[in-house]
Amino acid sequence: MTSQQVQHSLPSQQSAQSEHSQPPRIRDLPLALLARRFSTGSVALDYGAAMVRVRSHLGAFVRDFQQVYGAFTLADDAPFADFHTEVCGGQGLRAFLRPQSRFLIDGIQPFDPFPKAQALPHFEWGVNWCFAQRFNQHVLLHAGALALADRAVIMAAPPGAGKSTLTAAMMLRGFRMLSDEFGVLCPRTGRLWPMLKPVALKNRAVDVIRDFADEAILGPLYKGTRKGDVAHLAPLAASVDARQRPARPCLLLFPSFRDGAALSIRRLPGEEAFARVAFNSFNYALVGQIAFDAVANVAEACPAFALEYSRLDEAIESLRTMLLESPAVATTA
């Protein structure tokens, strides 16, 4: 059973609130209350495709978390979590000397500690790791996914091509973000599930997005992480509120940023689009024929384009038109 098969009821809050009210967003909770919830392990996060339970006693982690998960609500009384995680401090001397943060999944520490000050990026990478390793009931494309209503664009690109920057900018211009990192393709329905997490912006992209829109809520800048300087963009409420709403793939896009480049859009052959998507999937080789059929359905139904850009707004407006005009037809139920 996965979290998608569970109705996330919130009886304790529902009883205290009117029928139409929502649970409070994390940004509206007193920090002390949130810290208490973390320390008792009663923080459950609904990412859309997955439910994650988190425990932590690290105050700085809780403070940073509140910034970048501000639009989320706590999934109180969630009857099921796909992953049980903990972000805790270093052991022994490392609790005091160059203190560390450790990420645990089911009580096991899958990788080396990070500096304690980088506990939030550590948690983010840890959840990504859990998801990439264990969520094999879906085909996990290594791609961003955004939607206009229920029409989704899948954006795949190698590291450094500007995918996260474009994803962030598209959300800030009104697209619904499903994911920056995981295209969660359901092989049964052919739909994309949100796996909505903060967007990890690196190096120059941090200032680009900070300057791009006043609505951008960025968490702290973590300098000198294993992936450079990193800051997380908080998902906007519109995306958060729709995280239980899958979307239909309508467009495949392979973006690349090049300084000073004029916008160029080139149609890609179906077999090339298939190869680029399938062979960059996290679990294509593991899932086999099911993944082959699911990706082939997408490559068959969706027009595919390589897009080179240097100006975000110009690229986004082209994408908006391409997505709305895509003739993609569903090939599965």
Partner: protein, 92 residues
């Protein structure tokens, strides 16, 4: 729902036409083969000729020359033939 396996070929192979090209999943090896438009045409011709069975390499070369007027000696065609061999479409 689109029928994912629309032309006569070995049940071992799942074939999907994608535009002019295609992708093939080999259920025996779990390997995926990407076929360019030219390779997809060759695949179709040989699959139809073999009716789901492997066909002799000599017969395949004849078909390429006679039906498709292709030179089997070019590196591109040799590459296609190697892929087809891996998929079990060529024998003997």
């Amino acid at each position: 729902m689109v029928d994912p396996d629309r032309s006569p070929r070995s049940p071992r192979l799942r074939y999907r036409q994608l535009g002019d090209g295609a992708a093939v999943f080999d259920t025996a090896s779990w390997q995926t083969h990407i076929l360019t438009p030219a390779a997809a045409v060759i695949f179709e011709v040989l699959a139809e000729s073999g009716s789901g069975e492997a066909i002799a390499t000599s017969r395949a070369l004849e078909l390429l020359q006679e039906e498709l007027e292709l030179d089997p000696g070019t590196p591109e065609i040799q590459q296609v033939l190697r892929s087809l061999q891996e998929m079990g479409m060529l024998g003997g």
